[in-house]
Amino acid sequence: MAKKDVRVRRELEKFMKQPPAGISLCTINDDNFAEMRATIIGVAGTPYESGVFKLDVTITDRYPYEPPHIRFKTPIYHPNIDNNGRICLELLKLPPSGCWRPVVTIEGVLLAIQTLLCTPNPDDPLMDSIARQYRLDKNEFEKNAREYTLQHACQSRQNSAGTSKGENVPLKDFCFQDSGVTSNNQKRKSSDVDITENSNKKFKDEVL
């Protein structure tokens, strides 16, 4: 087995036994550690709350001498992540511009990305306009980021309903409302629902 595979397998074993909160990691192809899929759940209290963000993790044969290549597959509104999902994070780059070291693990990198979602770094932006907005009008930034999350990163309609309405929704109302949202093919009624349909489609498109 290649040197890289031994290490990645060990990292995965540890990850399966003690996964960090809100992060998952799995291989796409069982006998190949080159391509992996990670998901990060947006931390409560941030505009990314209740979003599930998918990331592509590519491990080159040079790993761990080279950092893993990680990209967001789910669109996200963030000063340090661009439209193509590229992430601006020092840990993902080799010295001298970055601070990758072979003792850092894939889990460590994913944790760093989760932290980046909680605390954007507008001083080293990839998206200038978002960084400016983050600095000058944080409320507007958070509003946009939240909308973006609802649109692209929420898995079911339940999330969007729950987040947009602040107060208690009685169980019976909730069930009735949701009975319309059964499958992707079914026709939906309210505009609220349409957003999810679109986002579901987007998900599908991304996957295919």
């Binding site: 809100g22 998952s24 909730f174 059964t182």
Partner: protein, 403 residues
């Protein structure tokens, strides 16, 4: 002769002290304890001294009123330096008095001026009023719920027995706001989720907060029952040590690639939990479709496991593996190369180690990394550069030379 001399020097010292400090009297026959006042600039400071090594002032302990301790606060280092010397006690007193006078002249006087007394008095009055408010609120609550309260009424612990016979603690911290005779309080510790704590904190009165606390606990009972069932019957991977405040569980749906995070909103306890899937795309998409299709089957009267099985169209949920004795807490085990995670690599053991952090490396692994580092230098078959773990500069021989 020597004894006589000692005694006479003792007598001299006592005379000296008595003359200069008439208000300070020894309270023990061996002159090791003194009580009384020090007078400086017509202000009397209540003091008591313990002089364990009389006649030397070594390890003197000074107990004094707050005004004097406030004054001496700025000279704490000086005074404690004296108490480690072997200065005679009377000289110590002289110097202490001089120090007090000096700091009074330096403006310490104004800090201690009489206006402070009135503020102190008002503060005490405020405190008294707030104490009586707290007491009346506690009386209203009934003592059976009170677990503990500290002397100055700054922390209160209340408990509640719920309908399932579990007891829950509510620890409150009270703090004063000047000019307002009400104490504010914050919840320090409780087993409720944060969102609920915010609701409790909103109420200004302790009685009302406690009532909200009890109500919320009863409201959360159903969620806790479901969480407990999941803990018992599913393969939970996160949180590792669930607390009552944790309103979510991440479980395996089909290990190791598909998991679901089930989370309840404590503010909407009657809603079905939100389920998020994580793992490989293809499997997740199928699951999510199934879930959305069968969401209406969620029955509030069914158990959480029945509900999960029915919305996910599964006959059962995976069980946790039997607990293993070997717990992998670290990715790398001691002795392994922290780059390749192996002990043996092409027949070689990790031979290099960092002098500072003691990490081990195979010569080949370390050499390869150091060779990539900007600024690393190769001299006489050795390469030097930063340790991959702690960045201390370390040396590594060229593996080809070693072979």
């Amino acid at each position: 002769m020597r004894l006589a001399k000692m005694t006479s020097s003792h007598a001299d010292m006592q005379c000296d002290i008595l003359k200069k400090f008439p208000l300070l009297v020894p309270t023990s026959s061996d002159f090791r304890q003194y009580e009384g006042f020090l007078e400086a600039k017509n202000i009397l400071f209540r003091v008591s001294f313990v002089v364990p090594n009389y006649p030397s002032c070594e390890n003197v302990a000074l107990d004094c009123e707050w005004k004097l301790s406030e004054l001496l606060n700025y000279h704490r280092a000086t005074v404690s330096a004296w108490t480690t010397s072997e200065k005679p006690f009377n000289i110590f007193l002289d110097e202490l008095l001089a120090l007090i006078i000096r700091s009074l002249e330096d403006g310490g006087m104004s800090r201690l001026s009489l206006e402070d007394d009135s503020i102190v008095f008002e503060e005490q009055l405020d405190n008294l009023q707030s104490y009586s408010i707290i007491l009346s609120e506690l009386k209203e609550l009934g003592t059976e719920n009170l677990v503990s309260i500290n002397n100055d009424f700054t922390s209160i612990s209340l408990s509640f027995h719920d309908s399932n016979d579990h007891s829950h603690l509510l620890n409150l911290k009270l703090f004063n706001e000047r000019g307002n005779n009400r104490k504010h309080f914050g919840v320090v510790d409780t087993d409720l989720p944060e969102a609920v704590v915010k609701i409790i904190q909103k109420d200004g009165k302790i009685t009302k907060a406690f009532r909200t606390f009890c109500e919320q606990i009863e409201v959360l009972q159903n969620i806790w029952t479901s969480l407990f069932t999941i803990d018992q019957q599913c393969w939970v991977i996160d949180p590792v040590h669930p607390r009552k405040a944790d309103m979510y569980r991440r479980i395996y749906i089909s290990p190791p690639s598909v998991m679901a995070q089930i989370s309840w909103n404590p503010l909407k306890p009657n809603q079905p939990p939100e389920i998020k899937f994580q793992g490989a795309d293809a499997e997740i998409d199928v699951l999510r479709c199934t879930y959305e299709e069968h969401l209406e089957d969620w029955g509030p009267e069914c158990s959480i496991i029945e509900n999960l099985c029915s919305v996910l169209q599964l006959s059962s949920l995976p069980q946790p593996p039997p607990p293993t004795t070997s717990v992998v807490s670290q990715t790398v085990e001691t002795g392994e190369c922290i780059i390749c995670y192996q002990i043996q690599l092409e027949g070689k053991l990790p031979e290099e180690s960092c002098g500072k952090c003691l990490s081990s490396f195979h010569t080949a692994c370390l050499y390869e990394w150091l060779g990539m580092m900007p600024g690393s230098r190769q001299v006489h078959g050795h390469i030097s550069g930063p340790c991959p773990n702690c960045e201390t500069v370390m040396k590594c021989p060229c593996p080809h030379n070693v072979a």
